[in-house]
Amino acid sequence: MTWTAPVIDRRTEPYVGDERTMLQGWLDFHRDTLLQKCRGLTAEQLKQASVPPSGLTLLGLVRHLALVERSWFRIRFAGEDVKDLYITDDNQDAEFDDVASADAEADFAVYRAELVACDAAVADRDLEETFVDPLGGSTRSLRWVYIHMIEEYARHNGHADLVRERVDGVTGD
C-alpha cells in the first residue's frame, strides 16, 4: 500500500501553567500542527509547490523544521557533536530544494526522532541558561530558543496552511 502521512492526535496547549509547561505545550501544539497539515497526503502531494511563485512544499517544511530543531536545541544550545541535517556546503537550502529525490517516509521518521532527541537534550536545562551562538557569536538564552521555535513553527504553519489548501482544498487551524 502506498505510504501517506500519518494521522495525528494533536496535543493542545494548557491555558494555565508555569512558564516551562506553557512553552513546551505551545511548541508541541505547533509540532503536531505541522504533521496535521500533512495528514493523509501522498509523497507526491507532499512534494508539490502549490503556491507559485513560492517553491515551498510540505515535505520541505518538515525537513526544514527537523534541521532547525537539531540546529538550535542540540548543536547550538547543547553543544552536541552532530552534523546539520540535509544541508551541504554547496547548498544551504538543500532541505527545501532537494525534495524531488527525497524519501518522504524516511524524512518523517527522521523528523519524529529529532523531536525526541531535542526534548531530551534540554530536559534538565534551565530557561535562564545562556549560550554563545556559534553562528554569529551572540549570547542567547534557552528561553529565547523556545519562544523563537514557537514563532518559527507558527509562521511556517501559516505557509503550510496555504500550501495544503492549494494541494487539496483542506483548511483549518
Binding site: E13, P14, Y15, V16, G17, E19, M22, L23, W26, H30, V51, P52, P53, S54, L56, L127, T130, S138, T139, R140, S141, R143, W144, I147, H148, I150, E151, E152, Y153, A154, R155, H156, N157, G158, H159, A160, D161, L162, E165, R166, G169, D173
Partner: protein, 176 residues
Amino acid sequence: MTISWTAPKIDRQEGPLVGPERAMLQDYLNWHRDTLLLKCEGLTAEQLGTAAVPTSNLTLHGLVRHLTKVERSWFRQDVAGEDVPKLYSTAERPDADYEDLDASAAEADFAAYRDEVAACDAVMAGYELDDTFTFGRVERQTMSVRCLYLHMIEEYARHNGHADMIRQAIDGVTGE
C-alpha cells in the same frame, strides 16, 4: 497633486536574546506586529486588498483588520473587561474583518490598527503573567496572561506566514 496612500515604511526592532520572560514576550509580540506592517510596506490600497493566493479569501488589508479585532477582543474585552464594541465582524458577517474591505478606508484601518495596539499595551501594563481571566461565550474557560501572550505571538506568526505567501504572489517580495 494628489499622491495616493501606500502602506508606510516600518523600522522593525530586534528584541532581546537574553533576559526576563515578560520583556521577551512583549518584544517578540512587537516584532510580529511590525512584521505584519513590514509585509504591507509600500503597497497601494488596491494591492493590499488583493486575494493573491487563489481559493483563499486572505488579503494583507484583511489580515491587518483581523489582527486589530483580535488584539481588542483578547486584551481589552476578555482580559480587561472594557466595554468596547467588537471591531468589523458582526453576527451576520463573522468574516467581515477579512471580506468586507473598502480600499478607500485602508489608511483609516491602518491608523485604527496602530491605535488598537497602543490601547492594548496600555491596558496590559496593569496585569502580571500569572493573572488569569475567563473567556468564551458558550463555555467559560480560564486562561493566564502568560498563555495569552504566547498565543498572540503564534497567532501573529501564523498570519505572517500567510502574509509571506500573499506578498510574494503580489509583487515577488520575500523575506522574514
